[in-house]
Amino acid sequence: MRADGEQRSGRGSANSRVRGALLAVLALGAALGGCTPIEPWVKPYEREHLADPIMSLGRNSIAATYRDHVFETREGSHGATGAVGGGCGCN
């Protein structure tokens, strides 16, 4: 009984290891799938409008900063106004 029990127990642990390995493979596959380069849905040659200077988030930054300063000195709120740049790779 003990031997059978140990056998069953060992088989059970082997099965759980296999299941674990399968899950790991599936997770790895999913992770590798996630690493597949994302195809840009807006191609570089389609960014003509985005590259137009009037679309720049940093246009006239010296004036925009002064204007933000005027508001910040008179309001209780501040922060989260900084643009992080165009980021469109269209320069």
Partner: protein
């Protein structure tokens, strides 16, 4: 909101030595100034262009005039490094409602120097900078560090930023007797008053191309301030008998403040070569100030050399938990403030601007140059801040609500080389 009374804190009688002025900038706003000038155009994967700007700025409203120059210079060193220098000056002349209530009109100059560097490595831009601001009663030093990374075929830019500020707070006094509501002839730093304030800021930004005509940005910022965060010149008022029906007393602020701000912006390219920008920002802090900002901007190039801008901005906020226009009695609460910036109010700002692009054939190294002008009309309606100067006429607490209209002007030249 019911506030607890802190035992042992007594309102001081109206000071004999009149504070000479009302400091214009709240402490937590000072360290933010110029960060955007230095850091905003830094893109992941692209260094900012070589550029020089010369600006004159002017603010007039509420019997305050602030004007002065600002100079910005950017220059690349090789292919990977860009350096930035900015000089900014405020010439302040104030006889605001706060000054008239409890201090003396004043003139002063605030000067600010900023340096920054952007280093490009692959698709990552690393930025560092230092800002130093000095005026007679306030010195602020700030460093900042950020990085921006382009990814997903340059559709996405992620940026992370950290900012640290150290402020030295002084209080000016008038050392010579002078008539009320006239400028002090001899201003000195109060030798018994020297405070500090520290600031930490963490920011996250995401810029995303959504379509061939649409950009979006998300920004999140958490800031913590610690130290002396009050304005040493402004005062609260509480009800009392006789005279105008109130007595002035010093403000008492908490020593810490933590704020969260999140914003979203969408910028759309219209079929007739124009852009429409919409943005929203939500703000909340541990002083219970909650603010919302909505703005729409329209940009339209016309003819060959002109670009026109128009904007409409709406802002609203709730008051801080320890703000009151008129406290019921002295020592009412452990924290008490009457700063207008902590009152409940809303504001509307209407702005227009024009840019003219011109050639400078005599200077071949300048490849683009523009002349720019922008005007904004700012209209603030306070909901629980009253014009205490009219207390004798209406009675304390029954005065008309205060309103502030201001004209903001910027004129600047820009060259790219």
């Amino acid at each position: 909101m019911q506030l607890a009374v802190r035992p042992g804190v007594r309102a001081r009688p109206r000071t004999r030595v009149r504070a000479r002025r009302i400091r214009l900038l709240p402490p937590f706003a000072r360290t933010l100034l110029a960060l955007a000038v230095l850091a905003a155009p830094a893109l992941g994967g692209v260094l900012p262009e070589d550029e020089a700007d010369l600006m004159y700025h002017s603010y007039q409203g509420g019997d305050i005039t602030v004007q002065g120059p600002s100079v910005l210079i950017r220059k690349k060193i090789g292919d990977s490094l860009s350096l930035t220098y900015n000089y900014y000056e405020d010439l302040i002349s104030s006889a605001s409602i706060d000054v008239k209530l409890s201090a003396s009109p004043y003139h002063e100059i605030r000067k600010q120097n900023s340096v920054g560097a952007d280093y490009l490595h692959g698709k990552t831009t690393y930025s560092v900078g230092y800002i130093y601001s000095k005026e007679p009663d306030y010195i602020a030093s700030t460093t900042y560090y950020s990085l921006s990374q382009d990814m997903f075929g340059d559709l996405t830019t992620i940026s992370l930023g950290y900012r640290r500020g150290w402020d030295q707070v002084y209080r000016d006094l008038c050392a010579a007797p002078h008539p009320t509501n006239s400028e002090c002839p001899d201003i000195i730093n109060d030798p018994t008053f020297h405070e500090r304030a520290d600031h930490w800021g963490y920011s996250f930004g995401l810029t995303q191309i959504l379509t061939r005509n649409l950009l979006a940005t998300l920004n999140y910022e958490i800031d913590t301030d610690q130290g002396y965060l009050a304005n040493p010149y402004r005062q609260i008022r509480y009800q009392s008998g006789g005279g105008a029906g109130f007595t002035l007393a010093p403000q008492i602020y908490p020593d810490t403040r933590t704020s969260n701000a999140a914003s979203v912006l969408l910028k759309y390219y219209l079929p007739w070569r124009a852009t429409l920008t919409g943005s929203y920002r939500f703000y909340h802090d541990t002083w219970n100030v909650t603010g919302s900002t909505v703005e729409a901007d329209y940009t339209l190039p016309v003819w060959k050399s002109w670009i026109f801008d128009g904007s409409l901005r709406y802002y609203t906020q709730t008051h801080a938990s320890f703000f009151s226009d008129l406290f019921p009695y002295a020592n009412y609460s452990n924290f008490m403030a009457r700063d207008r910036e902590l009152a409940a109010f809303d504001s509307v700002t209407v702005g227009v601007g024009a840019t003219y692009q011109f050639e400078v054939p005599q200077v071949p190294w300048i490849h683009k140059s523009t002349a720019n002008i922008r005007y904004d009309r700012l209209m603030i309606n306070y909901k629980d801040y009253r014009d205490a100067l009219l207390a004798a006429q209406y009675g304390a607490g029954n005065e008309p609500l205060y309103k502030l209209d201001a004209n903001v002007l910027e004129v600047f030249l820009s060259i790219w080389y």
